[in-house]
Structures are given as structure tokens and as C-alpha cells.
Subunit: 501 residues, 4 copies
Amino acid sequence: MDTRRSKTATAFVAALTLTLVAGGAAAQGAPPADAAAARPLSPVKPARETAAKRAAVNAVDRHAAELTGLSDRIWAYAETALREHKSAAALADYAEQRGFKVERGVAGMPTAFVATYGSGRPVIGVMGEYDALPGISQKASPVKEALETGAGGHGCGHNLFGAASLGAALAIKEQIAAGKLDGTIRFYGTPAEENYGGKIYMAREGLFDGVDVVLAWHPSDETQADMVSSQAMVDLMVEFQGKAAHAAGDPWNGRSALDAAELFTHGINQMREHVKPTSRMHYTIPAAGDVPNVVPEHAKVWLWLRDWERDEVEGLLARTRKLAEGAATMTGTAATVHVQGGSWNMLVNETGERLLHSNLLWLGPIVYTEAEQAFARQIQQATGVPEVGMFGGIKPLEGQVAEGGSTDVADVSWIAPTLHVSVATSPKDAPWHAWPVVATGGMSIGHKGLVQASKVLAATMVDLYEQPRTLAAIQAEFKAKKGDTAYKAYVPDGPPPVPEG
Amino acid sequence: MDTRRSKTATAFVAALTLTLVAGGAAAQGAPPADAAAARPLSPVKPARETAAKRAAVNAVDRHAAELTGLSDRIWAYAETALREHKSAAALADYAEQRGFKVERGVAGMPTAFVATYGSGRPVIGVMGEYDALPGISQKASPVKEALETGAGGHGCGHNLFGAASLGAALAIKEQIAAGKLDGTIRFYGTPAEENYGGKIYMAREGLFDGVDVVLAWHPSDETQADMVSSQAMVDLMVEFQGKAAHAAGDPWNGRSALDAAELFTHGINQMREHVKPTSRMHYTIPAAGDVPNVVPEHAKVWLWLRDWERDEVEGLLARTRKLAEGAATMTGTAATVHVQGGSWNMLVNETGERLLHSNLLWLGPIVYTEAEQAFARQIQQATGVPEVGMFGGIKPLEGQVAEGGSTDVADVSWIAPTLHVSVATSPKDAPWHAWPVVATGGMSIGHKGLVQASKVLAATMVDLYEQPRTLAAIQAEFKAKKGDTAYKAYVPDGPPPVPEG
Amino acid sequence: MDTRRSKTATAFVAALTLTLVAGGAAAQGAPPADAAAARPLSPVKPARETAAKRAAVNAVDRHAAELTGLSDRIWAYAETALREHKSAAALADYAEQRGFKVERGVAGMPTAFVATYGSGRPVIGVMGEYDALPGISQKASPVKEALETGAGGHGCGHNLFGAASLGAALAIKEQIAAGKLDGTIRFYGTPAEENYGGKIYMAREGLFDGVDVVLAWHPSDETQADMVSSQAMVDLMVEFQGKAAHAAGDPWNGRSALDAAELFTHGINQMREHVKPTSRMHYTIPAAGDVPNVVPEHAKVWLWLRDWERDEVEGLLARTRKLAEGAATMTGTAATVHVQGGSWNMLVNETGERLLHSNLLWLGPIVYTEAEQAFARQIQQATGVPEVGMFGGIKPLEGQVAEGGSTDVADVSWIAPTLHVSVATSPKDAPWHAWPVVATGGMSIGHKGLVQASKVLAATMVDLYEQPRTLAAIQAEFKAKKGDTAYKAYVPDGPPPVPEG
Amino acid sequence: MDTRRSKTATAFVAALTLTLVAGGAAAQGAPPADAAAARPLSPVKPARETAAKRAAVNAVDRHAAELTGLSDRIWAYAETALREHKSAAALADYAEQRGFKVERGVAGMPTAFVATYGSGRPVIGVMGEYDALPGISQKASPVKEALETGAGGHGCGHNLFGAASLGAALAIKEQIAAGKLDGTIRFYGTPAEENYGGKIYMAREGLFDGVDVVLAWHPSDETQADMVSSQAMVDLMVEFQGKAAHAAGDPWNGRSALDAAELFTHGINQMREHVKPTSRMHYTIPAAGDVPNVVPEHAKVWLWLRDWERDEVEGLLARTRKLAEGAATMTGTAATVHVQGGSWNMLVNETGERLLHSNLLWLGPIVYTEAEQAFARQIQQATGVPEVGMFGGIKPLEGQVAEGGSTDVADVSWIAPTLHVSVATSPKDAPWHAWPVVATGGMSIGHKGLVQASKVLAATMVDLYEQPRTLAAIQAEFKAKKGDTAYKAYVPDGPPPVPEG
């Protein structure tokens, strides 16, 4: 029988496991009879509705015009990683004006800041991003047209992200100020998510130490409390140095760094058979010779290694070093492996996600106008995806998927319990990191997502202040899952790579 | 945010899902509070104990000496695939002597047979294998020593498999004969599992058509009703034909088939990134040139493609054809892709597996003597695995794992609902397809497994005759899962590859 | 016996044959009748010394200050390919001032020109280059120091090339004007040798049609009439287009153009075994993905194919197209092969080279001062080559070598008999296309080479005007070697790639 | 200018140089003083005709029937390497019967022997081979038909080789016996040329020490004194050891030796760009996994490295070791490099070859009957080569070619001056190591070649005995070319690989 009888790999089985989870009874029907693959768990308890929660949500509505104004300014600035000077200032100034104590330029990054209000426990943090992506400038229009050719654009919706999170923090601040809640609220202005990983430097600096719970959200094409982990990741530059020679004249005197790079990538591709199915390895070749008539003396492979388990990533990294060393030996070249950065896998907090989900159900779906739906369908038509418009509903909690990805939010999740929710801000299935996300992020569709995100964060935070047992359960799950693991940032020693000028 | 936001790959998520399943209340405790990854399902109902079931199980005990005698003879014959003449005759003769009507030489294979008793519905089938593996002859001894150097050995325990299944069929036959059960019992003598896939030819011949349920078991190092699917698989030989030349004299006139094979395998290795994590591709290179001083004009790559989904395998097959074609184009050679065989993925029947599990629990664990445990530990010591002895307990039902494998039982599972159970016959974690399995398969440890397997199959079959609603539920699940798929054997047209002489 | 007995590859043997060597006064006999491919040369006849030749050589001396002035200006301009506006103007203006009729902007290139004087046959052409190389600015100093950081530099000595050739043309013009010689002298201002191949466009335009003989020289580290051919070459860009996907999210939906490029280059490297030892293939990979988290949808391989036989290059080109096609088929991508340019192999004219050699011997070696030798040795020390100083002697005629290279002069050699001589302008063995060549090209060492080159070209041209039988023999050899081959430029259709602005 | 200006690779240029060719009566002058690498040869002096030479040649005619009888018996035995028991005995017995003192079983090989006659200096040796090739049995017929299916055949004409050389030795022996010549004649029975390299073991044993000149010939499709060197060669087996795992079950626990082998060969193919054009590297992959469902734990690459310079081969060997080491590092496997054998490049003795050539001219062409020509043309038709029949003429001396190959005769050439001549025995251009060579080797065409070879060897040996100055010149050239190089056999330590039984 051509199977491997031993079942010793049980630990790994767990890594692929789909934990399947039911939402409220109202939102979901009975599980399908034959759904062997997808089974409901115990139902989520309905959210508690309190005066403080109602007040916090109303506060978001009250500030909505200001928050969308902030978002629109940041959308227009479209500043990329570690260059978000105007964006960070807009948010920090607003926080300061509203009574927060603001510390700017934290963790060595001029565009990182922390805004705090209140005192004592619990300390609840909420994170906001505001960096844009290069080169995808776009108007708030359902057809592709640059606002400014060649400029950046908010193709990941971080203009909404920062403003909504700050709005939630402000809503809580007002309840503390009003004596309805006790404790500390802290807004983290976290720059450079798209590159460098600003939160990693902030985590390394200890800025999340002692926080009870941290929350974050992210723009998406649907609304869901995120039970799905992210992948641990390490970012490498592998460089080979050979010896140049005239490629027609005396190629026998050359030692090609490109040969080494090609052997290295061949080895990576072979190694795919011999890694766990959860691992991902992907690369580009940023340097591979200048002109054909010179044997290339320098080549670089830019490689990312990922897995849902950080230990696997460490194993891949060790083997990658051997691949580089061997490829150099084979070609008479020298290899260097630079770890440029990396993030940890997300430590999902199920107790917290169930709480977020209950508040999503309590808030109800986002409702769009016909004009907004038409705007969304026009984008869907332009990008060749089904013309179904916006999806305003709430997706049930969902287990682990095979599809991977990484985020610097995950690093925070190993320091404090971290709750994460996605909120719809863009048309279903339209391409991400692309013009459609910029377009809807600059008009009412994005604004509605901003307000909804702000509310669900505020409502959930109210629960954290008001329900000590829930807070304790979240922290207990965090401690159990974290175990003995000590967080250590993947970023290189030294200051963050802040660009000059 | 470096994730893929769209959740369109939902269908695939299901493929990796771990369906987690509880056993009886007695056997398992409460789920661990933090076990996000592994959750109990609804509990398995306790097995029904009836007079017929008690009688069937007693019949197995009554015939135990004969059955172990049959097993020991087949163990000693140690005949490999499609050469199991004496082994098949021993089982067929025994069935005939005990009142079965036997049809020998079915589906073009001299060593395949069907033994039938009774009439009318339901028609329940049970399968038995009896082929050995080449070159692993071994005495029934806890140290490695060949019975006959170079000869075959039952390193997969099929001597036990055939005898136990026939014993279960005989136990049912006696209940039908006694008027305690109504219907037809059929034993399938299925040769050549280790090579060629005898059941595939029998399936192609229609021998499983119209059967209500088919059962099988397999020797293992633990006892468990199998919820785990097997992988669909296709076996290919990819041949390249180039042009020979003197490798020092005029290599520029040669076109190397080995070059083509190396590009082809390079392409396979690259393609690993671009297939589902559930896919497996593995190969050897059986022909790669004769002598170095001739440019190789012929090369062969032997390749297996697998996935838990047959559609994925079909996709891999289509892409493999392109890989071969492209590699030939690149090298000025010609490529041929031969599909040599293949099997389908196992259609797991959860209703049936829960029934098997209930009967395992009803029978209770296997109890070993201290001498048997010492024998097992001696083997474990010799093979460098933990010296924990035999594991006689019953494992809970378990979801899908990442570890793959294929079997021709799976082809049958697309024609009739197929229930499969593993029963311990060898020391925990000792190497499979190796001498330890031969050793314990020839002495009391294997005999105990044989008897236990025979009993659980008999008991479960009694349920199938006595519980029409359970039988109907099993068939309904089968139909729902099978859907419109029409089974088509992967084996090439024409007769099975029966060896001469 | 492990050899290839058949001797059918005779034609190829000839390609590697060393055509031998005539040097000093000693005599050789007639070549053996049957040794077509390999035979001793008759000795070089001593150069004829005539009044016109003496006058022409004196004219070079007379204009030496102007010519070195021109060279120094072009050296300082250091303009790269098709941007040589001031350099071309300096030469064209000088020619015009001295009585030549100048046509500027020929063959679609603003910096190409033809300067003509005289009328009737024979029409003798002499070519001059004047483009610099980017990024190697250097002072006329024996230590590495940029004249202007980041600017270009004359690392191939083309400042000397253009001025010396024009000096020779001027010397002949004066003899025609004085009635000492009859016929037409034509100076070709040929831009963009280092890139694009200006002469190829001029050849395509028909500018060399009807010319009786064309001469050229090139700066070198030694002085020798060039019997060594250059390689035919074709310059390709091979592009692959695949399908992007998130490399962690759904890599199975991606089709990697980089995979295709890697298979393509693997195929190139395998093919090295199956090409003639005279072939050269070398590449870089200018595009190989942008960021690791996206499956690369676009990749480019920049490839040069060369051989001393153009037919071999054509064969390599056909096979390269197959390599690209096959790599695309293997990876589910699309391939495009762009021929970007290319040059022919040099049709060496032995009769003409013997004439050049005789005039080199007649002129005698270049004599350097001790300061110049010290300058050269300092460069040699700095660049790690033997500190032997300048080599002023005349190397004997020499046969084909294994070391390859290409030049656009070769294209002209298929339209008119082309005579080529190297003259020492830089320290022996110092690196080419590098700062040492710039350094000596801007001071007296380069100036001495300029004058010597100008003289040997002038003296040889006098012979061509005065010795109709020698001219006829040169043309007969050209016709015999060229045979039926019709020249066709490798450059793409359409105008030359003149940069804007 | 895209060429490599430096001419430092001069030593290499010489390696490809065609040393030229003297044939008929026409005279050449002295080579130029500075052209060490490339110069015309002086014409070959006509052969001296003496009484002893006439007598020796007549002796060959006199023994022709016996010699062809010996050849036909060996042709029929068709014994392969180190199994040539009957063939060696036939030759040794004949030598003994004719008065030679025979030492059998020399150098550890039962089928190697030395037959000696005479005493004192000079000591002239002549070598004879007699091993057949496996699997190419063929009748003496112009159509392909096996004499005995599956048996060996003399596809390299060694049946003729041994008999002709012994015939020449016998002719000399008779002149010594008659007092016409003084010195020692020695026939070397050299087995196993096609495999193992018998002469290498004989050389290692010192059997050629102190011999003044050694001669050999080889069957061919044309007649020529061989100025062409052979390639130095080393034969390697590169083994990789990894770790097996179930390829579907837990491939992540496997480390594939086949992956290592594929990286290794990829590295070999890349390295082709970075070796001299004279180098050859070719391989097969004799072990590359057993069955696809097990990660291959063992793989072997069989590799030959060659060049016309042994130093280059040593360089390739050192780099190959690095390739193996690096490929193992990359894949987590272990590599072993076994040097299995190898031969040196042939030290061509031009003085000796000129002497051979003069005697070929003196003997004149081989004349074939119309029936023989028809036989040859029928073979040519059957094998698809031009139907030109036999070529009986004498080819002029010829320089180095690009086509490579190796022979164990070359090892001898570093111990004593070795003269080698090819004589036509098979149809022009018909495939070698194939049935046509067997066919003509067993009938009159082969017999005529045998007699001609015997005569030219005998005539040349007479010159060596009679012309002390020529002998001294041959030895002086040998010493000058050999220089300080100390011969060391490439074969592994220990006895030759004599097969059992």
C-alpha cells in the first residue's frame, strides 16, 4: 500500500487544520447536511449593548465628517513608507487637538507616534496605518485615471485605516473623559506597513509592552472578524560575487555570479518538494549582469520565505544559507545572505475574534446606495471580475486557509493579544494594491467602511473595558498560545531605514 | 498589506479542511479548552449488539486456527503481484470448500477471483489482498534475517489481509445460511495491489457494479476507522528521443535526450510553486544515457502525479504533457508521454466510518502478552524507533492529514460505498514495507490483528444487513459525494500486464 | 578506440586553421597543392618607397599638432554613441576647412558624415570613430582619477581613431591636389561603434557601395596588421510574458515568466555542448520580477550569439528561437524573440594585410621616452599587470585565435575589401574599456600612436593608388572569399535609434 | 570595440594552432624565427629503400595467409575487454612458434603479454590490440546480420590490429635473425583498449621503460600518418547519498540525491562557458532513483573530462570536485568523487610521423577490386553515407582538428616516442563501432588493410634500426616535448579490474 503508515507528523496536521466556527444564530442557517468539510462550532454569544457602547458608536457618527476629512487629506498626500510626514502630522495633530498626549518620532521613525489618554488599567491600544503605495495614483473615479501620473496612491486603503482607528480611540477617550469607562486608551500611529514594517521597529522598541489588548482593522472587499493567521516571513537578499571576463574573449577566465544565482534558484525550486506544504518561497532576481559581453561578476536574488509556523521559516532560512553556500562553491564565486527583515505569524485570538464578530452582528450590514453599487460594478467590469457590486454583509467566522500572506501586525500579536477585523471598502474581487482600491477609498464607499470600522473597534473596546472576564479570557488564550516563545524582531540591528530628505 | 484579499479560492479551502470527529463518550474525554485545531463532532452512536453480530464474531473465533493457517501459508509463499498463484488458490479453495461459489481468473488476471454466497439484496462485498513485496524475505523473528535470501516477503501484511477478509465473509455466510441474515455476501480476491493495481482492472470489468457496500481493512501499527482519503494518482513514463553523436568527436551533431529530461525535471520542480499545496509530483530517471562518450539519444523520466482531488491530477497531467513537449522543442528531441496507470482518490464515507468505529469500540482493544510486547520492542530497538511495544487501543476518528499516499481501494470507492479500517499488526512506528512487518505478520501479533480485523468487518457487515436505514444513509452520502462523476480507470487499454510463466 | 574516425567535419577544421605567418626577410616556398586550408604564406614583400608616399607621411607630421589638438578636444568631449555632436562637428569642420566636400547627417544619424575629395577611380575610403564610453571619465594621469565624476571617457581610444584616420585622408587629399595621385579619397565619420553599430546603418544605406578599398585602424597595446577575423554576432532580447499572482496567496494561479527565463538559460547552457567550439553565447537577465511577493509576469533575457562563421550564428539563432518557444510551452507563458542588432564576421583580406604589414615595417617601431615608459609602468603597477611599459615594436602577422569579439567594421568588410591595423596607444596588457586607455589617450603616448596610425594608413593608401596590380589582387581575394554571399544588415528595419535631445 | 585586446592567452592560441603540413616534393623555406606556434614544415624526405626494408616487406607478404588467418580467428572469437583469452593465446602462441620469447599475464592481466626477440639497442616496440565490442556481432556481409545474436563483434577492427602488428614484428625478427638488422624487437599484446585501458596498467608496470620507440596503427576509413593528438581524459563516478522518504507521505523528511545530481549536471553545463573551447565534458546518469514514490537516496553521475592538454583536465577535475561538493551542500546530501581511470593526451612525434608518411608514400595506395568496391558501396548505401566505396589513397599529413577522442596509446607516448598510423580497412564514412567495421574486418578489404599496416610498420621500423640519426631526432623531439612531466597513470591503485570466471 503506497502510503506512509506512521502518523508521527501529527503536530503538522494541526497546522493545516481548519477550525470552523459559527456566527450568531440569526446570521447563519443550519450547517448543510453533507458539509463534511465545514462544521459549526459553538455559537457566538450576542454582543452586550450598554450605554457606553451606544455613546461610543454615536461619537463615531458625530466625528464622521472630521474623520473622512482626515482620510481624504491623507488619500491626497499619498505618501509612501517612512515618507508619511504630512499624513502622520495630520493624525497626530488631530489627536492632540482632541486631548490626547502625543509622542512623535518614536522608535527612530519621524512618522511614528503614540497618542495616549487616561490612566490605569486596562490599557487598550488601537493601531492605524497611513502609508501609500508608489506609482498607482488614481482619481476617485470608476475608470482608471491617475490623479498625478507616476505618483503614489492608497491602493491598500491605509488612509481609511489610520483615520478610522483614531476615530475609535477618540470615541473611547470621550467615554473615559465622561467617566463612563476607566483605564487608558492608546492610539499607535504605525508607519511603513507596505515596506520595512514600522510596527516591527515599534515592537522592538518595547512600545507595546504592558498593553492589555491591541486592536486593528484592515480595508477589504468584505467584512469579517479575522480568524485566519498570517504567515511568518523573512526577507533575504542573497548576493553572489564572481569574476568578470570578456564573454567572447576569454570566458574561461570568468566566474559567473549569474550562474551561481541560477543554481541557487534551481535549488530553491527543487527544495519545494522537500518542505512542508504550508511553506512558501518566492524570489526575483534584481541583478543579473549588465551587458552580455561581460561575464557577470555580480548577481542578487531577492527571496521571501514564509510559513504559518515561524519554526519552519527558521528551518527554511538555515537551508537557504546552505543553498547559497553550495551554489557559490559550485561556481567559484562568493555568497552573502542578508536578512533584510521579516515578520512573525499572527497569533489569532479566538476569544477576541468572537467578540469582534458579535459586535459586527450587533452593528449590522453596511448599506450602499444604488449609485455606490453602480460605481462598484463599473470597476468590476473594468477589471474583469463578476459585476456583483459591493458586499455589505458580515461573513461568518472562518478557519485557516491555504492562501498565505504576511503583515507586521503579526509581530504585535506576540507581545499583546491582538484582535483584527476586515471591513469592506472596495468592490468584491476587484484587484488589490491597484487603482480600484484607491478609487473607492477616496469616496463614499470608503467613507462608509471607515465609519463601520471605527464603530466596531469602538464597540469592542467598550466590551474590553466593561467585561473584565472577557478581557481575562482573551489574555489567558494569548498566554497559552504564546507559551515560552520570546519575541525577537527579524529586522536588522540598527535604526530603521528612514530615507533622507 | 501583503495578503491576497480575495477569498475566491474557497473551494480549495475545503480540500485542506480537517474534519474533526469524536469517538464514543467512553473512549474520549472532553476536548481540550485551547484545542483550536481539533474539535469533537457529534458523538458516534454506540454499536448495536444483536444475536447475529454475536454469532458472526464467534464464528471468526471458531475459524481462527484455519484463518491463521491460511495466512501463514500465504506468508510463506510470499508471491509478488500477478504471480500469487498458490496464495490465490489457497483462499479460493477454502472459500469453495466452505460453500461459496467461486469464479476464478476474473478481469483477465489468473489470480483474481470472486467468491459469492446467498442471494438478493443487500449485496455486501469484502476485499482481500495477498501479494507480497520483492526482496524483503524475513523470518518471524525480531531480528533481521531472511527466510530465503533475495525472495519476497509480506512487508505490507497482505497475508493477513486476505485471510481476515475471507474469514469475515465466511462468518456472514454462516449467518445467511442459518437464516439470521438475508442477502448476498461476496469476497473479492484482489491481486496485485503493490503493483499494477488489480482492483482497477476488476473495477473496469464491472465486478463491483451493483454492490451495495464494499469493505476492506489494512494492517497497520494502530487500529482506527479511516476517515482519511487517499490521493488520486497517475503513473507516467516520459520518454525523449534525440540523436547520438560522439561526445568528444562531434557533440555538435548530437541532440541529447538527457538534456531534455533534465529540462523536463527542472520544469517539474519549478511547477511545484504553481500547483496546489495538496499536489505531489515525484520522479526517478530510469534511463539517462549508456556511456559518457556518446551523446545520449534516449532518456526516460518515471513520474507520479498525485492530489487529493482527481481534477487537480488531470490538470497536472495536462501541464506535464506541455512540459515534455516544451523540453523536446528546446533540445531538438522528440517526447512521448505514456500513462501507465493510476488510481483515484478515496471517497471517504463518514457514515460508514462511524459505524466501523462503533464496532471497534464494541470489540475493545487488542490485548498483547508480555512476550509479544517484548518482541515488538526488540524490533523497535533494532529499527531505532521508540521502544513502546504494540499499541492495542482504538484511535479516535481523525480528519484529513497532509501526508499523502494512494491505493487501488480508492477506485472501488467511486463505484460502491467503501468502508475502510486499519488494524494493528506491527510495532508502533516500525518501518513499513520492511522486515518488521514481515516478522510480526508471521506470528501471534499478526494473528491477533487478523482476528480483530475479521471481527470488526463481520460485525459491521451484520449492521449493514440488519439496519436498512444505516445502509441507506451510507448510500445517500456516497451518491451526494460522487455527484455526476463517471468512473474511468487510469490503466491503459488492453489486458492487465500478467507476467509470462 | 574512443575517437570519431570519420573526417567529414573537414570544413570546420578549416575554420580553426591557422593561416600562417610571414614576417621578416626570410623566404618560404610555394604552398603545397593540396593543403587548401592550411598553408605557409609567401613572405611579405618590402614596401615600396615612392615620392608620394614620402610626401604623404611628411604631411602627417606637418599636421600632427592639429590632429592631436582635434583628438584632445574629442577626448575632452567624451560623447557617447549617437550623442557625438561636438566630436563629429570638430572632425567634419576640419575636413571642410581643408577642402573636402562634407555630407553630414548621413544614414539617418546626425553624427555620421562623409568627407570626399578628388574624382574618378580608385575610390579609397578610410573610417574614423569618435564615440566614448559612459561612466569612465579619467584624467590624463597614471593614477585613477575622474576628470568629471560619472561622465564618459575614451576608454577605447576613439578620439585618436577619428583624428588619425582623417589625418591620413588629408595626407592623401594633398597628394591628389598636388597631382601626385589620381582618384578619390573619402573619409567616413562613423559614429556609435560602442553601441548600435553606426557603420551597419551606413552599410545598409549603401554608403560603402562602389568603394575600392576601405581602411581602418584601432588603438591597441601593440602594433600589428590584423589577420584575425572578428566574430559574427547577433544581439537578441528574449521576452517572456506570464501571469501574475500573489506568491503567497495563490501562486498556483500564477505562471512565472522568470521560470521560463531560467529554463531558457538552462537550455542555453546545455546547448553549449552541442555547438561548435567556436561559438559563443552569453546573456544577462535585465528583467526578472519586481517584488518577491508577486509571481513575475514578465522577464527578459538579453543574449548575444557569436561565431567566426555567420552561418553558425544563423544556426544558433534558429535554435534559440526553439529554446524560447519550448521554455514558454513548459511554463504556460508566451515568448517573443527580438533581433536587436548584430554584426558580421570580418572578411580578412590577406593581400591587404601584407601590404599594411610591409608599411609598418617600413615606418619602423614607435620610440617612447623614459617618462612615457614610466607613465605606462605606473599604470601597469596600478592595474596589477607586468610592469613592462609600452611595446613599440611591430608584431608579425598572426593567424586566427580562439579569443573572440565583434565589431561593426566587419559589416563593411562584406561590401568592400577592408584593411585593418592595430597601433599601440596604451600600456601592454592594461585593462581595456577602462581608465588606463583614457589616460594614455589624452597624452603623448596616445599622440604617438595617432601619428603612427595616420602614417601607416596614408602610406598604404598611396600604394593602393600607385599599384593597380596590388589593388586588383586585393579585390580578387575579396571577391573569392565573399562568393555569392549577399550582405544584409542585422539591425532592425527603420531608422537608427538616435536618442532625443 | 567589443574584443578583448590583451593577447595574454598566447599559450592557448598555440594549443589550437595548426602545425602545418608537408606533402609532396615542393619545398618550403625556414620557419620565421619568432613564430614558435605556427610554422610551415619542411617537406617530407622520400623514404629510403634498403635491402632490409625490401626483405621485411616481402616477409609480410610471405606470412600474409597466416596473419589473415590469425585475424579471422580473433574476429570470430570476438572477446571483449580482459576476456580475450583465446585471442591473446592465438597471438602469443604464434609468436612463440616463430621464435619470440613470450611473457604472458603481465601487469596483472591474464590476457596481456610481451613477445621479444633479439638483444641490445635499439629496442623497438610495436603494439597490438585484440579486444572486441559487446553486442555488435555481424557476419562478413554487406547487409546487417548478426553472426550470433547478442554476441560481441570487432567493430573497431582490433582483430586486424593485433595480427598486423605482430606480422610487422615478425618481419623485423627475421631480419635480425638474418643479421640484416641489429637490436631488439618487442611485440606488446595490449588487451582491453575499449574498456579499462590495458596499456595504462602496462605503462604503470614499467613495461615500456627503456624502449627506444613504440609503434602502433589503427584501422580507419583512410590511410594517414597521424599528426593529430588525442585528448587527455579522466573518468569519474560522482555519487550522492541523501535520505529516503515517502515521496507522497513525508517528502519534507527526504533529501534527494537526484536533486544533487541534477544540480551537479546543471553546474557542469554552466561551466561549459567557462572552460577552454578545447575541453569536453560528457556524462550519463547511471543511478537516479528506483521508484517514484520514494525520495531517491542515491544517485550517480558518470562523467568524462577531456582536453588536448592534461593540465586543463586537471583543472576541470578540481572544479568538478567543487561542483560535487557544492551540489551536496545545497541538497543536504553527501558527495563522493571516484576517479575510475583516464588516459593522457597523445604526444605527437612529428619526426616519426614524417617517417611513417614517407613509407606510406613509398608503399603506394591500396588497390581494391571492383567486388570490394561494390561491397563497400553496399554498406555505404545501407548506412546512408555517400556511396564512394573504399578510399585507398594516402592522405597528406594534417594538423590538429577540433574533433576529440582519447586512447590508451597516448599513455605510452609519454614514456617512449610513439608513432601512430591509420590504415583504411572500412568504407569511407561508414559508422564506426558498428556492424560495417565488423563486416569488412572479416573479409578481403580488412585483410588488405592488415597487410598494408604490417608493411608500413615493418618498413618504418627498418628505418629506425638503420638510421641512428633519425632515431636520435625522434628521441630528441620526444624529450623536448615531454619536458619535466613525469608520467603518472590515472587508473586507481590496485590491480586491473579483471573479471572473474
